[in-house]
C-alpha cells in the first residue's frame, strides 16, 4: 500500500474527474466544492451583482424586515443586508487564504526537515509544536490579535500561529513512516543527498494529507476569524463583513430583527461547511483504512 502512495500525485487528477463515481466520499467533496466555488464566485462578482452600496447608510428604511425591495431586509443603519451579505465574504476569505498559506509555508518545511533529521532537532521542535497545539487555539489567537492590532495580515498571522502545529504533526507522522521504507533506504544507499530524498521521495507522499488538513484549516480559519471579530478584535467596521454583522446584530435581537443575524450567519456556516465537506471527503478518499 505504501509504495502505491508514491504515485498518488499522478492519481489526484483522475480522482477529481470521476468524483461522482467514488461513492459517498466523492459526493461529499463534490458538494463541498460547489458550495465553496459558489460563495467565492459571489464574493468576486460582488461589485456587479450587489444591488446597493453595502456601506451606504439609509439606503432603505431602518430595520425593515425582508421585502421584495430589500429581500434580506435592512439593518439599524438602513443598510441593505443583501448587498452586505454579497460583499461580506471578501475579508474572511482573504484572512483564511493568507493564514492557510502561512501555515503551509511554515509548518510543512519544519515538519519535513525536523522529522527527517530526527534526534534532538525532532524532539525540540516537537516539544515547541506540542505546547502550541495544547494551547486553546482561540485564546492564543485572541492574545496575538490583541497585541498586533487590526489588519488583514495581523489577523491572518494570529490564526496561522495556532494551526502550524497541525501541519507539523501530520507531516511528521508521515515522514517517520516514509523514511524507513525500502525505496527511500535504497535511494540513500545509492548516494542520494538528503535534500533530493526529501524533495523527490518524501514530499510527494505528504501532499494528500497536507491538502486535507489545509481544507479543514480553511474552515477553522473562517470560524476563528468570525470569533475574533465577535470578541471585538475584528477588522475595520467600514468594510462589510459577516462577522461584524453578527456582532452588531446581537444588539438588535431583542427587537426581533432575526434577518440581521440569520443571513450573515448562514453564509459563515455555508462557507465553513463547504470546506469541511471537501476536507472530510478527501481524507476519506485518501485513507485506505476507511475504505472497508
Amino acid at each position: 500500500m505504501q509504495t502505491e502512495r508514491g504515485r498518488i500525485i499522478v492519481q489526484l487528477i483522475p480522482q477529481f474527474v470521476r468524483l461522482s463515481k467514488r461513492g459517498m466520499a466523492g459526493w461529499t467533496v463534490l458538494i463541498g466544492s460547489v458550495i465553496v466555488v459558489a460563495v467565492v464566485g459571489m464574493t468576486l462578482l460582488a461589485p456587479w451583482i450587489a444591488p446597493h452600496n453595502p456601506i451606504a447608510i439609509n439606503v432603505g428604511p431602518i430595520m425593515a424586515a425582508p421585502s421584495s425591495e430589500f429581500p434580506l431586509g435592512t439593518n439599524h443603519l438602513g443598510q441593505d443586508m443583501l448587498s452586505r451579505v454579497i460583499w461580506g465574504g471578501s475579508m474572511v476569505l482573504q484572512v483564511a487564504l493568507i493564514s492557510v498559506a502561512m501555515c503551509v509555508a511554515v509548518g510543512v518545511p519544519i515538519g519535513l526537515l525536523a522529522s527527517y533529521a530526527g534526534g534532538n532537532t525532532d524532539k525540540g521542535t516537537s516539544l515547541v509544536m506540542d505546547s502550541i497545539y495544547a494551547f486553546p487555539g482561540l485564546v492564543l489567537a485572541i492574545a496575538i490579535a490583541a497585541m498586533l492590532g487590526r489588519g488583514v495580515l495581523n489577523m491572518s498571522l494570529a490564526i496561522a500561529v495556532v494551526y502550524v502545529p497541525s501541519y507539523y504533526r501530520i507531516v511528521r507522522s508521515q515522514v517517520l513512516t516514509i523514511k524507513e521504507l525500502s525505496y527511500v533506504e535504497a535511494a540513500r544507499a545509492l548516494g542520494a543527498k538528503s535534500r533530493s530524498i526529501i524533495l523527490r521521495y518524501v514530499m510527494p507522499n505528504v501532499v494528500p494529507s497536507v491538502v486535507s488538513v489545509a481544507t479543514i484549516n480553511f474552515a477553522d480559519a473562517i470560524l476563528t476569524a468570525a470569533g475574533l471579530t465577535f470578541v471585538g478584535l475584528g477588522l475595520s467596521v467600514a468594510v462589510p463583513d459577516w462577522g461584524w454583522d453578527l456582532t452588531y446584530g446581537r444588539q438588535l435581537l431583542p427587537a426581533g430583527a432575526w434577518w440581521v443575524i440569520a443571513f450573515p450567519g448562514l453564509m459563515i456556516v455555508l462557507l465553513a461547511l463547504g470546506f469541511t465537506l471537501i476536507g472530510e471527503g478527501l481524507s476519506e478518499l485518501w485513507s485506505p483504512r476507511l475504505e472497508q
Binding site: F135, P136, I142, A143, G232, L253, P254, A262, V269, E280
Partner: protein, 343 residues
C-alpha cells in the same frame, strides 16, 4: 512501567511544556511589536503619566527582569495587576471561573450524551438514510459558529417563545448562598450546586433554566466529534465475536448495544473529552458573550474592550495552565484505566 513511574514521567514532561507555554505568552504580550502600555492609552497620555503607570505595573524594568517577575509571579499564583484598576488579575479570574466551569461541565455533558446517543443510532443503522443524516449533522456541527447558534436559540426559545431567559446566570438578587451550618460556610460558585446545598429547589430550577440555552449551544457544537467517535468504535465492536455471542445467548438488543458494546467505546470517549477541553473553553468564551454569562470568557472580552493587556495576559496564562492540567489528569486517568498505555 508502574503507574507511579508513569505519573512521574508524565508530570516531568509537563514542566518544560508549561515553561514553553508561559514563555510563548510572554513573547506575545511583551516582545511582539506593540507596547501594551501605549496601546492601552491609545497614544493619548502625557509621558510622565505613562511612566508612572509603567512603574505601578512593574513594566518599567528590563525584559529579562520582567520575565523573571512574571514566572515567579505565576508560581505564586500572582498573574499581575489589572491596567484598569490595579487590582490583582488572579483574584478577578478566580471569581469569574466558577461560572465558566459550570457552563463547561453542562456543555460537555450535553455533547457527550447527545454524541453517544446519535453515534450508537448511526452505527446501528449503518449506511442507511438515518446513518447519512446523523453523519451529515455531525459534520455540520463543525461548521457552525457557537455564537451564531447561541443567537438563533436565543431568538427562538427566549425572545419568541419566552421559554428560557435570554441571558445572565440567575435572576439578580437570588444568587444561591450555599451551605450555612453555624459558623461553617460552603459555596462552590456553581449555582446549581450551591442552590442544592442551600436546600432551595426553586433557585435550583431557576439556575438550570438560565444554564440551559448556553450549555445546549455549546454541547450541540461539540457533539459532532463524539458522534463520529462513538460510531466508528461501535462499528468495530459490533462485529466482534463477544457481541455475536451475547446476541446468541438471547440478550436483549438494548443490553447488547448499551451494556456490552458501548463499554469498549468508553476509553476513547474519555480521552476525547480531555482533548476537547480546549475547544470547550474556546466555545465557552464565545457562548458567554452571546448570553451575557458572567464567566472568564466575558471577562476576557470586556478586558479586550478596555485594552487591559495585563488582564488579557493573565487570562490567557490561566486558560493555558488549565488545559495543561486537564490533559495531564486525563492521561493519568487513562493510564490507570488502561494498563497498555504504560508499556
Amino acid at each position: 512501567m508502574s503507574l507511579r513511574s508513569y505519573v512521574i514521567a508524565r508530570v516531568l514532561l509537563t514542566i518544560p511544556m508549561l515553561l514553553l507555554l508561559l514563555t510563548l505568552v510572554f513573547l506575545i504580550t511583551r516582545v511582539l511589536p506593540g507596547d501594551p502600555v501605549l496601546l492601552h492609552f491609545e497614544k493619548q497620555a502625557k509621558p510622565e503619566a505613562v511612566e508612572e503607570f509603567r512603574q505601578r505595573l512593574g513594566l518599567d524594568k528590563s525584559l529579562p527582569e520582567q520575565y523573571v517577575d512574571y514566572l515567579t509571579g505565576v508560581l505564586r499564583g500572582d498573574l499581575g495587576k489589572s491596567m484598569q484598576d490595579f487590582s490583582p488579575v488572579a483574584q478577578q479570574i478566580f471569581s469569574a471561573f466558577p461560572a465558566t466551569l459550570e457552563l463547561a461541565i453542562f456543555g460537555m455533558i450535553i455533547a457527550v450524551v447527545l454524541g453517544i446517543f446519535l453515534g450508537v443510532r448511526s452505527s446501528r443503522s449503518y449506511n442507511t438514510g438515518e446513518d447519512h443524516v446523523i453523519r451529515t449533522f455531525g459534520i455540520a456541527t463543525y461548521a457552525i459558529p457557537v455564537f451564531f447558534l447561541g443567537m438563533v436559540l436565543q431568538l427562538v426559545f427566549s425572545i419568541q417563545l419566552h421559554w428560557f431567559p435570554s441571558g445572565g446566570r440567575i435572576y439578580p438578587g437570588s444568587e444561591p448562598l450555599g451551605l450555612n451550618l453555624g459558623g461553617f460556610h460552603l459555596a462552590t460558585g456553581l449555582y446549581t450546586v450551591d442552590s442544592l446545598l442551600e436546600g432551595n429547589l426553586s433557585k435550583f430550577v431557576q439556575a438550570l433554566r438560565y444554564l440551559f440555552l448556553p450549555s445546549f449551544a455549546l454541547g450541540l457544537v461539540l457533539c459532532g466529534i463524539f458522534i463520529r467517535l462513538t460510531r466508528t468504535s461501535m462499528l468495530e465492536t459490533l462485529r466482534l465475536d463477544f457481541v455475536t455471542a451475547a446476541r446468541a445467548r438471547g440478550l436483549k438488543e438494548r443490553t447488547v448495544v448499551y451494556t456490552y458494546a458501548l463499554r469498549n467505546a468508553f476509553l476513547p470517549i474519555l480521552t476525547m473529552m480531555g482533548l476537547q477541553f480546549a475547544a470547550l473553553l474556546a466555545g465557552a468564551i464565545l457562548t458567554e458573550t452571546t448570553f451575557s454569562w458572567p464567566g472568564l470568557g466575558r471577562y476576557l472580552v470586556d478586558r479586550i474592550a478596555f485594552r487591559d493587556y495585563t488582564a488579557i495576559q493573565g487570562a490567557v496564562v490561566f486558560f493555558g495552565l488549565l488545559v495543561a492540567l486537564v490533559s495531564l489528569m486525563v492521561d493519568i486517568l487513562y493510564a490507570y484505566l488502561d494498563p497498555r498505555i504504560r508499556l
